[in-house]
Amino acid sequence: MLFEFDSDQQLWQKTVREVTAKECPSTLVRTVVDNGADPAPLWKTYVGLGWTELVESEAAVELAIVLEELGRATDPTPFLATTTQFAPLVAGRTQPDRAGAAVYEGVSAVRDADGWLLRGTAHRVLDGDRADDIAVVTEAGVFTVRADQVSARRTSAFDPVLHLADIVFDDVRVEADPDTDVDVEKARHVALAGLAVTMVGACRRILDLALDHVRNRQQFGVPIGSFQAVKHRAADMHVAVERARALAYFAALTIAEDDPRRRLAASMAKAAAGECQSTVFRSGLQLFGAMGFTWENDLQFALKRARAGEHMLGSAAEHRALIAEEYRATLV
């Protein structure tokens, strides 16, 4: 296993990092949160750069590199839901400029003489309120509906940048048959890896901000970062991030290479990201002291993005249960 970026990937990471630093600075995130600014121009930038076209499995590592940086920047666009939740459910039928969302449960499909009726309510759908198209997983297969066919209402969340929506399917009429060839399980692995690497990016941002703070904040006449109690927390945060990052990219790589360990890797990625955010949230906010406890400090965006991920697509504990089950099965 050669688990290090090759030179193309290193260059790609550098490019993405430069773009996000320029196009998605925390001042922009701040105006989205405090002034209700529309992130649509940023979305158009991503589209223009071709980032929304990184949806083929083979590009999973390159997509992960983008997602890590967007996690770090607290991306305010529907990029995550579009590329890692919607796209894998509608393989080959995406349009680069249209945002998408995925409904994994809560909707049933009923067949009648004119086609299909979708009914039910999907809760807390990522970007469900601002997607142009919605992929709906049902027992009959995967349907795709336009946003204007459903009624979606945004739910406020502790992460002020995050869009979550409840979507009501009130006998939505669909004429076309559902896609029954979609590998829904694989699509879910893509979603897990994508969310995990986004959380890792947010955790790296928390660590970077905390390091910057403890290097500069003086108490007792010295930078607080010179105290061993502070250093050891920082070291533990770093190890947690490295561990979660390795497992997130491993999941991306198993998707790119269509490796049979994909299922296990996806759960490991999500579980590790969840464990990482716990360590990093607690130590990051603690090291900031009272200054991190304010709305005006940008630390909040990364803290909340990291924590929010733990509440989507299964918690760390749920995925550890899957890992134990899967691994014992693999061993026998």
């Binding site: 050669l2 970062g225 010179s226 250093k231 920082a234 561990r243 490991m268 550890r320 061993l331």
Partner: protein, 391 residues
Amino acid sequence: MQLSFDSDVEEFRAEFVAFLDEHLPDPSEATVRARSSADVPEWARRWQRVQFDHGWLLPGNPPEFGGRNATILQQYVHLEELSKRRIYHSFNPQGLGIIAASLLSFGTDEQKQRWAVPILRAEITAALGMSEPGAGSDLASLRTRAVRDGDHFVVNGQKVWTSGAHDADVLLTFVRTDPDAPKHKGISVLLIPTDLPGVVRRPFPSVADGDDRDFNEVFFTDVHVPTENLIGELNGGWSVANGSLGHERTLLWLSFADRLQDLVEDFHPRTVLDRDRYATLVMDHQALKLLGSAALVRESRGAQDVPALSVLKLLGSEAVQTAAEHALDAAGPDGLVHPATTSAYVPWNLDNFSSSWFERFVRSFAGTIAGGTSEIQRNIIAERVLGLPRG
């Protein structure tokens, strides 16, 4: 990034597997057990020599030193194949990995022939004299004194935790040769034969078992060591120390990966909580292998990042300890039994990690204490990886 190695590495692996299949000692020959890390039974000496002669002992070495000039990635798959079958290539691991390696890096040609080759061929065994009662994490404060007297050094002082010393033929010993210099700049290294007058070795048992005698106190009283036994430059011992511990550093994490692999196989979850902890073990094992292989790739590109290796040591050693404790928990009343066998018996290793659950747990502290404690690793990570100020 790729999940598989390039074909040259896989061909190398296949070649080694074929060698193992042909030459690994039959279990019926491998019945005599070693009593310490410098006590090598006759069958294990023969086995080490076969590997040396075929260039498989330390494949990264040139052929005259038991290798075949293998790349770092080839060395990795070599160790991976050994660990898969729980095979030790040497029963004097510090002799091979630290003492012979230091001699090959810092010794003269004569010193290499006189000591490194016999250690590699298991004709003699070696132990490492670094720590002292007053010099552990602060190794540079060591006080064992060596005073030049004509063509000898006269050595006085004490070492401790010297694994295998009572069974070793030679000790690679760190001594103070200039007490007036700053502490890192007054240290030298002497190769001290244990049969010299004035060398007294006293083995003492570890917490793991009253019969487990690997540690030693070693006392030096007016020991006359020929000056030709000076390894490296006079007062240049600190760079040998960094080199000695550095030799195996890139691959050190593999020993923790091995312990984790053993635990993945041997830990039997019973409760829901056990299963949750078992999943953590599986993740730690995978993450360590991923991060370790990334470090290998960096080294193979000539971009080795030594402080970053502290992440591997900290993660690996702590993960082993956590998993060993959890496996001990899961054993319930069976966890009380000692001695006990907790995994399949494998004749080609020292059994240390397949003994009772308590022993496996308590031995995990060797990982978090030796070779730089977890606390020291955290300091290194904070200061040299994350750039926090020295306290």
